[in-house]
């Protein structure tokens, strides 16, 4: 059985400046697969919280339709449907921008998608943030690392002209027992910046929690939100932060 928890919490810098939380996430848990989407609206984009939400909603529903229709799939088609979900998200943002008569860059956002099945993990990643997985043999790996430009405040968003060439899609033919998707607000706490490897003691309590037995995912998600808003976390990061953790238990 799969179970998932998730939360997006406003960073202290956004609390200070009166900006909304520009992170957004959602997930779908079924007996056969889980799909996770998380997006981080850019601080420079006027209404990036809209971009992040439209991207997540569109990508998630597109992927779910595709997975339902085409499962089981050959390798190539996995990569294709993940790319198509990014394309659909981009089109939806484009459409919203035209309808609302704003520039598409006002909706600038990153996007991460993860599809988890019993024998595969497919990840599409545009921008910063990270996807980390724990496999059957216990190893914990960074599946996709943050994609930043030369500078710490540079990233290629879904709204950029060259988004397609910046999109990374990877597939592992392995049983991921647990997967974490996080936005850049949590990057410095959980990923070693020099090696790109996950900081295992960050992930262990989450991965153990979702793989060792049934948890109340609703109340645990609330506790996760409290944790993300806690002083301990906010002392280390002033940005919006999202964490989604998925696990399979016997």
């Amino acid at each position: 059985m799969w179970q998932a928890i998730g939360a997006s919490v406003k960073g202290t810098s956004h609390v200070r400046t009166g900006k909304p939380c520009q992170d957004y996430h959602n997930y779908i848990v079924t007996p056969n697969y889980v799909i996770v989407a998380a997006a981080d609206g850019l601080g420079s984009a006027a209404q990036s919280e809209i971009g992040a939400e439209v991207a997540v909603r569109t990508a998630l529903s597109t992927l779910q339709d595709d997975v339902r229709l085409y499962q089981p799939l050959i390798e190539d088609s996995w990569q294709r449907i993940v790319r198509e979900a990014f394309g659909a998200a981009r089109d939806a943002i484009d459409g919203r921008a035209v309808a609302n008569e704003v520039a598409i860059r006002d909706y600038g956002t990153t996007l991460m998608l993860a599809v988890i099945t019993h024998d595969r993990l497919v990840v599409g990643h545009l921008g910063d943030g990270a996807v980390v997985a724990q496999f059957d043999d216990g190893r914990v790996e960074t599946i996709t690392a943050p994609k930043q430009g030369e500078y710490a405040n540079e990233v290629t968003p879904l709204t950029a002209k060259d988004w397609e060439s910046a999109l990374e899609v990877t597939m592992q033919n392995d049983n991921a027992k647990a997967v974490a998707v996080l936005t850049d607000g949590l990057q410095n706490l959980s990923i070693n910046t020099a090696t790109g490897n996950p900081h295992a003691p960050f992930f262990a309590p989450f991965f153990n929690g979702v793989t060792q037995g049934v948890i109340d995912t609703i109340s645990t998600s609330t506790q996760l939100a409290d944790f993300l808003a806690s002083e301990r976390v906010c002392a280390k990061t002033d940005d919006d932060k999202t964490l989604v953790v998925v696990g399979e238990f016997a």
Partner: protein, 218 residues
């Protein structure tokens, strides 16, 4: 079953991203007297303003190159470690060589960041002069324009009264600013606040600088 959030450990080895800034300060003979005193007080104000911000104090790295002659007064150091040492004025104005020195230091610093897995923001060079170059400056100007064009650096120049603004405008694509009187303290507080904004920025942020109206004019 539940998750014990108190068990979650953070990677405390990760370095803060760095925001490097080279101050390129004219300390030629003409800066002697009141100007150099005000400049030194400005540096004190700069340091105080930077350490007032928790993130800026760990992220902003300061280096100081003086010219008259070219001298690295301070190699890159984070704001919390920086103690301004008083500068003295003497000599001519080898601005071209000083600019090249600053650009070389930035290139070297980027290598250090890369080797250590430290992410960084676009480096700034902030030049202050009250005169005109006494050396060849055209090649340095070419390098500045190229580096600006490739977004390798942001180069700002400020002319104190007596500075050759026309030459300053030929060095960088950005218009030189004219310092009002000897308002070094206000200028450095502005610089600190601008660097603080940069050091807080996250991917995609565009930095809008505050108006320098309190201390200078275009």
């Amino acid at each position: 079953m539940s998750i014990d959030f108190s068990q979650v450990e953070f990677d405390v080895t990760n370095p803060e991203p760095r925001c490097p800034c080279v101050l390129l300060l004219d300390t030629s003979g003409s800066m002697g007297g009141k100007p150099i005193t005000e400049l030194n007080q400005g540096l004190q104000a700069f340091q105080s303003a930077l350490i007032a911000d928790e993130l800026a104090m760990m992220r902003v790295e300061i280096a100081i190159v003086t010219f008259g002659p070219v001298n690295v007064e301070q190699d890159f150091i984070t704001a919390d470690q920086y103690t301004p040492a008083p500068l003295a004025a003497s000599g001519v104005t080898p601005m071209g060589a000083a600019i090249e020195k600053a650009l070389d230091m930035i290139d070297d610093r980027k290598q250090v960041y890369k080797q250590n897995g430290i992410s960084y923001y676009r480096p700034w060079v902030f030049m202050v002069t009250d005169g005109a170059p006494t050396d060849q400056w055209m090649q340095a100007a070419e390098r500045v324009k190229q580096a600006e064009g490739n977004k390798k650096v942001a180069f700002f120049s400020v002319g104190v009264e007596g500075a050759n603004i026309e030459i300053l405008n030929n060095i960088s694509n950005r218009s030189a600013l004219k310092l009002r009187g000897l308002n070094f303290a206000e200028m450095f507080v502005w610089l600190s606040s601008s660097l603080t904004s940069v050091s807080h920025s996250t991917p995609g942020d565009e930095i809008t600088l505050e108006s320098p109206a309190g201390w200078g004019t275009v």
